[in-house]
């Protein structure tokens, strides 16, 4: 299927609201981390927001890491 339209992709195929609500921002120490809910109580780190390069050496906050929240 080819769509020839000036509309943006998101106007034609609206995104699932759940994909927005799955993501959350949390604060860990001085860092802000974006996490994604994968399943019951389990989260995956999607992005680490910090300007301090040393924070990116922290293994436990590497994007992709999964952890449990109770």
């Amino acid at each position: 299927m080819i769509l020839y339209t000036p509309l943006s992709e998101f106007d034609i195929f609206p995104t699932d609201q759940a994909s927005y609500t799955n993501r959350q921002m949390i604060d860990v120490d001085e860092m802000t981390v974006e996490i994604e809910h994968i399943e019951q109580g389990s989260y995956r780190i999607t992005q680490l927001l910090s300007t301090n390069p040393q924070h990116f050496l922290n293994q436990s906050l590497t994007p992709g890491t999964t952890f449990q929240l109770y």
Binding site: L7, S19, L49, P53, L57
Partner: protein, 239 residues
């Protein structure tokens, strides 16, 4: 800097007492951590997100995240310089201009590196720093501003967009060595992009046109930044 010393002493005292407490409570001390870096990094990646939130599968840079970080960098006396890393396809013009103005108004030395791409609104962000670098393989697409979606009041919107474009041109020519005529020429050039007007400027060409200051990557950027930091420290000493 004499005003820093008492603060340091206090910090040391506090550190020592908390260390003593830890040893008393747990019988151990924590592993020493790496010293805090005096250079901070501001990554501008993916799309620059403006008023409309993009679906989460898009990699975006949100200005509401970056602006507080820029203020924190400005406020923190331990941070002496900033490196702005760019790999962006562009995005919201006003959000991009907001970021550019914020970076341009930091009092600390700033250096940018364009990696991969620094397209459309990535250009004002790249030139907003004190010194800019581009890696030889990176490209920057210069093109006129455009808009997708529903437009209410076409003539008004057209004029508004024209003014917005003027703001971008003024910012870029004001913060880089490129001449306004050259930038506009590249922006409205035909035949460079398939079925579109504009120019895709590759690393070395960007330097030739005066858009970016030099070719270089991490090593060059770090070297330049430490040079700028020592210059600004010298200036402070004189004052």
């Amino acid at each position: 800097m004499p005003d820093k010393e008492p603060n340091n002493d206090q910090n040391q005292d506090q550190n020592q007492s908390s260390l003593v407490q830890k040893i008393q409570q747990l019988g151990q001390s924590s592993v020493p951590t790496a010293p805090d870096s005096n250079i901070h990094v501001l990554p501008i990646i993916g799309q620059i997100e403006g008023h409309i939130q993009l679906p989460p599968q898009n990699k975006t840079t949100k200005y509401e995240h970056l602006i507080p970080q820029i203020v924190a960098i400005e406020q923190n006396p331990k941070i002496e310089g900033v490196i702005v890393l760019l790999n962006t396809v562009g995005g919201d013009v006003e959000a991009g201009l907001a970021l550019s103005e914020m970076i341009a108004s930091i009092s600390k030395p700033t250096v940018s590196i364009v990696l991969g791409g620094g397209h459309s609104i990535g250009i004002p962000i790249a030139v907003s720093t004190n010194y800019s670098f581009i890696v030889p393989t990176a490209t920057m697409t210069i093109h006129p501003i455009r808009l997708t979606g529903l437009v209410i009041g076409v003539p008004q919107t057209f004029e508004y967009l024209d003014k917005m474009q003027e703001r971008v041109i003024r910012f870029v020519t004001g913060h880089s060595n490129i001449k306004e005529e050259k930038f506009k020429e590249l922006m409205f050039e035909k035949g460079n992009l398939t079925r579109d007007i504009g120019t895709n400027v590759v690393g070395r060409d960007a330097v030739e046109y005066g858009l970016i200051d030099a070719i270089g990557g991490v090593k060059e950027a770090m070297h330049k930044l430490s040079e700028l930091i020592s210059e600004s420290n010298d200036r402070k000493m004189i004052q």
